[in-house]
């Protein structure tokens, strides 16, 4: 009787902590991404003259940012901005924008 209960309680606790973690990460990522909105639009949907980021495949965005960062892709200022982010942050941001509605 007690073992399944304990197991259930432990599982529930684990599940709650996972949710809490995921939530904190999601909110942090949302804030990081919002810093791109000044040029690339709220929720990644840009006004004319700038590229939208919403719904762009993750791999494409990640590669583009990594190419800017490495100086492989010509840019006016994205080579300077991209260097402000770690490779991991770039991957997370690319995933975030890929999941947004176009």
């Amino acid at each position: 009787m007690t073992t399944p209960f304990r197991l259930m309680a432990a599982t529930t606790l684990f599940w709650i902590s996972q949710v809490a973690w995921a939530q904190v990460d999601a909110l942090q990522l949302r804030s990081w991404a919002a810093a791109c909105a000044n040029c690339h639009g709220t929720l990644g949907i840009a006004q004319p003259g700038m590229e939208s980021l919403a719904g762009v495949p993750k791999d494409d965005l990640q590669k583009k940012m990594m190419d800017f960062k490495a100086g492989r892709k010509p840019a006016t200022l994205m080579h300077q901005i991209s260097k402000g982010y770690t490779d991991e942050q770039i991957e997370q941001l690319a995933g975030y924008f890929a999941a947004l509605k176009k």
Binding site: Q23, V24, L27, Q28, R30, S31, W32, A34, A35, C36, A37, N38, C39, H40, G41, T42, A46, Q47, P48, G49, M50, T76, L77, Q80, I81, S82, K83, G84, Y85, Q89
Partner: protein
């Protein structure tokens, strides 16, 4: 008088009524929902108001108090002086904040704040209660250091045009009325001030206008600083090559007084200078309401804050964003930065009001474009990341930089930046 008051009261009543209605549609029991009041509808305040609504799924009531009928952008306003843009180009209504996001926009001024009662008092009468207050009052000018500016009519004649609006157009009219062969003198205060490259861009824009319309005229830049404070080599190149014989730059000119009647500037160590058009950008500090509330704890000029939440170090439940804050190292007082503060603060306020932990690692960027002509632009960019040990925002080593040369492509990006940040702030 009575009639006007009645109209104001009626308009205010309608605003509150409309808010109550839209709130009722969004969810039930909104009367008991948290209340956020935002003071000031510039790049910081308007952004914060929009994002608190968005990120709380419309569950937090937001009232934005702003005296102006519409948002007028300081960025791009120098192009109105240069003649390639109009006031209409830099003006955006507040409608979308209320229509799309359910922000209650109240056209009024906050005259006082009671941090214990958590209320703000309005010039038009009445009080607004808040759970958290977001102050984005921009800058006000330290005119007390320039006694001549207190004389009758002096401030109508000698303009700052450092808050985009009626003064922008009035200064353009003064430039248009100036005879060819005249001198336009621009004074720049010691840093920090709103928009570090702004005065140098203005010198370029006025010179651009003179080069087309009155080529014998001069732009005299009188800078209190030891050197150009932003994008120095790029501006100096523009003055030497594009505006040779028009722009003259003189550093280390600390303005001490203005004689408006004699159209003369007085300096700490230098000779008086008389010019046809005087444009004085005065020293500035946090907006009056922040100073009056006792929040300007840094040199009695700027408001110290916690960079994770933007909460004031002097008062609980009051957050300060935009030009009013005591900045972090290498953080400019800019519209772009105020928009970033607005979002950082909005996320923290939503978290605090819903029992969550605010983001422990803010990262955001600044991008600033300056027009050296009607088409060619130079930029400065930076990325700022929270440093937990120093409890401030620091630029990320190796990131950021400036344009290699003025170019037309960035002129197009600059206008795209403007469209996007106006939409991110107001739409």
């Amino acid at each position: 008088m009575k009639r006007r008051q009645l109209i104001q009261t009626a308009a205010y009543g309608t605003a509150l009524g409309a808010a109550g209605l839209s709130a009722g549609c969004a969810s039930t029991g909104l009367q008991s929902g948290p209340k956020v009041v935002v003071v000031g509808g510039g790049y910081g305040g308007a952004t914060a108001a929009k994002y608190v609504r968005m990120w709380s799924d419309q569950q937090i009531n937001v009232t934005l108090v702003e005296p102006n009928a519409a948002f007028v952008s300081c960025p791009i306003s120098n192009l109105v002086l240069g003649g390639s843009k109009t006031m209409a180009d830099i003006t955006t209504p507040y409608d979308n904040l209320s229509k799309r996001h359910g922000v209650t926009v109240v056209r009024d001024m906050v005259t006082s704040i009671d941090p214990d009662k958590r209320t703000v008092r309005l010039a038009g009468g009445g009080e607004l209660p808040y759970d958290r207050l977001i102050l984005s009052p921009g800058v006000d000018f330290m005119m007390e250091g320039l006694p001549g500016m207190a004389k009758a009519g002096a401030q109508d004649q000698v303009l700052h045009a450092w808050k985009a609006g009626p003064q922008t157009l009035a200064l353009r009219r003064q430039l248009e009325a100036m005879p060819d062969g005249g001198v336009y003198a621009l004074t720049i205060p010691l840093a920090p001030y709103r928009c570090p490259p702004g005065p140098y861009e203005r010198a370029c824009q006025v010179a651009h206008y003179f080069s087309k319309a009155k080529p014998r005229s001069k732009v005299l830049v009188l800078d209190a600083n030891d050197d150009v404070t932003s994008k120095g080599p790029l501006f100096k190149k523009a003055w030497a090559e594009r505006y040779k014989g028009i722009v003259e730059y003189r550093p280390k000119h600390v303005l001490t007084d203005v004689d408006a009647a004699a159209s003369t500037l007085k300096f700490e160590f230098n000779d008086d200078i008389k010019a046809n058009v005087l444009n004085v950008v005065p020293p500035m500090r946090a907006g009056d309401i922040a100073v009056k509330t006792g929040l300007a704890t840094a040199n009695r000029r700027w408001c110290e804050i916690d960079f994770l939440t933007h909460e004031s170090k002097a008062a609980k439940n009051i957050h300060v964003i935009g030009d009013s804050i005591q900045v972090a190292p290498a953080m400019p007082k800019s519209g772009h930065m105020a928009n970033q503060h607005g979002k950082t603060c909005a996320a923290a306020v939503v978290a605090l009001l819903t029992g969550k932990q605010p983001n422990t690692l803010p990262i955001y960027n600044n991008t600033c474009y300056s027009f050296v002509s009607d088409e060619d632009v130079v930029h400065v960019a930076s990325v700022h990341r929270y440093d937990a040990a120093q409890k401030t925002m620091l630029t990320v080593p190796g990131s950021g930089g400036v344009s290699s040369a003025a170019n037309e492509l960035e002129g197009r990006y600059a206008m795209a930046w403007a469209r996007n940040i106006w939409a991110d702030t107001l739409a």
